[in-house]
Amino acid sequence: MMKWETVIGLEVHAQLNTRSKIFSGASTAFGAAPNTQACAVDIALPGVLPVLNREAVAKAIRFGLAIVGRINRRSIFARKNYFYPDLPKGYQISQYEMPIVQGGTIGIFVDGKEKTIRLTRAHLEEDAGKSLHEDFRGMSGIDLNRAGTPLLEIVSEPDMRSAAEAVAYAKALHALVRWIDICDGNMQEGSFRCDANVSVRPAGSDRLGTRCEIKNLNSFRFLERAIEYEAKRQIVVLEEGGTIVQETRLYDSDKDETRSMRTKEEAHDYRYFPDPDLLPLVVNPDMLERIRSEMPELPEQKRNRYLGYGLTANEADGLTQSREMAEFYEGLVQALGGGYKLAASWLLGEFTAALNRAGIDVSESPVGSERAAGLLRRVADNTISRRSAGEVFDAMWNGKMEADAIIENRGLKQISDSGELERICDEIIGANPKQVADYRAGKEKAFNSLVGQVMKATRGKANPQQVNEILRRRLAQ
């Protein structure tokens, strides 16, 4: 049986998080009552004209710098002409032949292996409005609030070979656009939308197969499922002797399948031409330098720095999944004056678990890096055990008290008075002759039981290391 290779390229529409629209002064805030955020320009009244939002340009440039692409000194806005009720002008303004960004790469990790995905281009364009087909007694409603929202369309080369790679790329891109603060990444609200170009070819072939473009992939899971379904579908067609028709397909998440929307023959002739209302966009060197100087440290750079702190690759990856997490980490170690390993393992352990339980982001954590440092400081200086730290953290999470006050209130301070600990250890040894004998006979398990009993007797407040040391010393006598 023939082996097939799947080839995938992604087109991602990232909504730029500017305050106003790309060609008008109307607000871009999500969720307003229909048509309340559509000004004269957005609804395309006779006589209105577009004016480019410089902030959208700056964000596109940030992206170009982050992926080390080429920022074109001169780029052109074109009109993409087609009729649709939610497209007020009858054309979409989009960069066509001359995009603002060309080239660049994004690194992904799949199964522990690193791979570089090349980008073709990233261009600025405006979003359309929304057609609402429910609730209007057989008619359609049009909401133009979204019309004119700035988008950056990010097009990759067909460099991915599996759904897993495509998802890894989409996630890396998603993390990056949020990292450099150009997009809020909210997939439910449509701020980050993926279309996938999928084709298959016999393994080893260097010719690309006929591709289908799958639209409407608004989650990473749908992206993965749709690509898997589509690749299988194409393989079945080819193995049955059929041919793939180049077409646009829609992913139906309810049925978990893709189906044809329109074939290439039915495709619009968009009649692109340069928009005469907008001059060519010129990026001057001063602007480029200003934006470059404002760029945050990127995930890759941070990751390398963290490896230098002695973190594992997994820890460094984990902490650089989002800029908020990395900033939390850096705030924490700064407040601690070190503690790189402790802070990393605690953030990726207890802290992340708490975020997940609450279903919130780092930025929404009720415990900030300063408060968290108050807690970890007490772990680092052995005032409390890591186990007690969990209890203190819970109390901090649910209240306003600081770590020290909670430790004091609840009497969680570790018993590090060695006289007191030695007395308790002696008691336990005296009360458990069998375990003592077993230990002395070489059964290590018996030792753990004794440690456990000491911890129980101290209600967890004993320093486990100290208990260990005392018990071993006493039992050796």
């Binding site: 009244l45 006589g47 209105v48 004209l49 002409n81 009729f83 007020p88 031409f273």
Partner: protein, 486 residues
């Protein structure tokens, strides 16, 4: 009162010898009486106009008058004016009331001028005769059986018939200069980018430019002072220091090099037109100007280039008239596509549809390079011709139109003949240069002839001075058609 020029009228009002209300009432009375004859206006709104006039009188009483405070100005119905029906001569917008002011309207309002009405025009400014209007053809005051030119024919006719002392217009391929010539008034189209296009309903964005009609060059300078200026809402608006457009009026012309393109004086120009234009050139020579022969070798290509580029842009600019949000929507449709088709089939007239079809075709896949790209290349050659010519001369002169006013319906069935009536004006738009037309005589039938003056970029003040000198030495511009009395 209606025989006064804008400048004179403005002085009367400023000196409180006439109130704005009196002046505006006078013109509205004339419009009400005479408009059925000329069909120069689409909309008159006496209440609105008088409210502005009263405000102007209050401003004058308060001693805060500007040069245009209180004077009535007619506006081509292509400029959006808040609260005014703004139709662009189309059924598509027959009931559209603009919710905002165009930049030009804002500027006139700020100056205290009064909107006396909205003038008739070719539908969406597509035409050279003002016959394609949904509101019926405009008649030329000099001969009611002839056209006043277009597309700003209503504005030209209104000024010619003394139904307004001045009017705004737009010029995409000659739509100010050609009707100025055919109706015997003065008109100016500034350098592209000098007057904001914001609120001026788009026909062909890279060519459209607002301008004005009046009876004298001096009046046009006053209008330019109000209209010109940077507007951040139009990305093609040029940010420049404000100009006083009357600053050169009266400066001697001696030594001025007048370029005469051989292509403007070739065959195809009606003999009476050629004679009048040559007479004007002789007059300039007598004033000390130096005639210089120049060449615009790609002139002949300007009409075909224009009829690729302008329809291409128009086909896209007019896509917004789809019946969805405002304007005309057909009844009795079955589905969305049917609604689009019926709305656009019923809402647009034949000439607009013809240009949308041409534009759609030239932008289509497989034809784009051969038509649109090629036309853009030739456009650059045409601009280069002018640049070369202006190394040898200061202004260029020639006929505005190859003929005087033609009969109503004469060219309506022959689009190519109609398109050729703009053969001398189109190249100026393609190059983005400023141009004027001023009266320079009459043909044997008593129809006015226009002299076209083309200046280098931003030389409006100089052009106005050239026209002013001519008007000081001649009286063509003072002649009025008969039949304009109540």
């Amino acid at each position: 009162m209606h025989d006064l020029t804008l400048t004179q009228l403005s002085a009367e009002i400023a000196a409180k010898r006439a109130s704005s209300v009196e002046v505006v009432t006078h013109f509205i009375k004339r419009i009400n009486a005479l408009n059925r004859k000329y069909n120069a206006y689409i909309t008159v709104d006496e209440e609105r106009s008088l409210a502005q006039a009263r405000a102007a009188d209050a401003r004058i009483a308060a001693g805060a008058a500007a040069p245009l405070t209180g004077v009535p100005i007619a506006h081509k119905d292509i400029f959006c004016a808040r609260g005014w029906r703004t139709t662009c001569g189309s059924k598509m917008l027959a009931d559209f009331v603009a919710p905002y002011d165009a930049h030009v309207i804002e500027r006139f309002n700020a100056a205290g001028a009064v909107i006396v009405g909205k003038t008739n025009m070719d539908e969406f400014a597509m035409g050279s005769s003002s016959e394609t209007s949904h509101f019926g053809p405009v008649r030329n005051p000099w001969n009611l059986e002839t056209v006043p030119g277009g597309s700003s024919g209503g504005s030209a006719a209104a000024v010619a018939a003394r139904l307004a002392p001045a009017a705004t217009g737009t010029d995409t391929g000659g739509s100010i200069r050609q009707p100025a010539a055919l109706a015997g008034v003065s008109g100016i189209k500034p350098t592209y980018g000098v007057v904001s296009r914001y609120g001026m309903i788009a026909f062909a964005s890279s060519l459209d430019q607002g301008g004005a009609f009046a009876r004298t060059a001096e009046d046009l300078a006053l209008l330019m002072n109000a209209m010109a200026g940077f507007d951040a809402r139009d990305s093609t608006s040029l940010e420049r220091e404000p100009e006083e457009y009357a600053r050169e009026l009266g400066r001697p012309l001696a030594g001025l090099r007048v370029g005469l393109p051989a292509e403007f004086f070739a065959e195809g120009v009606a003999p009476d037109v050629a004679r009048a234009v040559e007479g004007a050139v002789a007059k300039f020579k007598a004033m000390g100007c130096e005639p210089i022969e120049v060449h615009l070798p790609n002139m002949a290509l300007s009409v075909p280039v224009y009829y690729v580029l302008a329809p291409a842009e128009a086909s896209s600019n007019l896509a917004r008239y789809d019946g969805v949000r405002y304007g005309y929507r057909a009844g009795g449709y079955n589905d969305l596509i049917d609604m689009y088709k019926k709305t656009r089939a019923e809402g647009f007239g034949a000439e607009v549809k013809r240009r949308i079809l041409i534009g759609t075709y030239v932008l289509s896949h497989g034809y784009y390079d051969a038509y649109y790209i090629q036309a853009q290349k030739v456009r650059r050659l045409i601009a280069r011709d002018f640049r070369d010519a202006f190394t040898k001369c200061d202004v260029i002169m020639g006929p505005t139109s190859p003929t005087t006013a033609f009969r109503l319906g004469e060219k309506a069935g022959d689009p190519v003949q109609m398109y050729l009536s703009d053969i001398f004006t189109i190249a100026v738009n393609l190059a983005g240069l400023p141009g004027m037309s001023i009266p320079c005589g009459f043909d044997a039938k008593g129809l006015p002839v226009g002299l076209q003056i083309i200046g280098n970029y931003f030389s409006e003040a100089q052009m106005l001075n050239v026209a002013h000198h001519y008007q000081q030495a001649t009286d063509w511009h003072t002649r009025a058609p008969s039949g304009i009395d109540l």
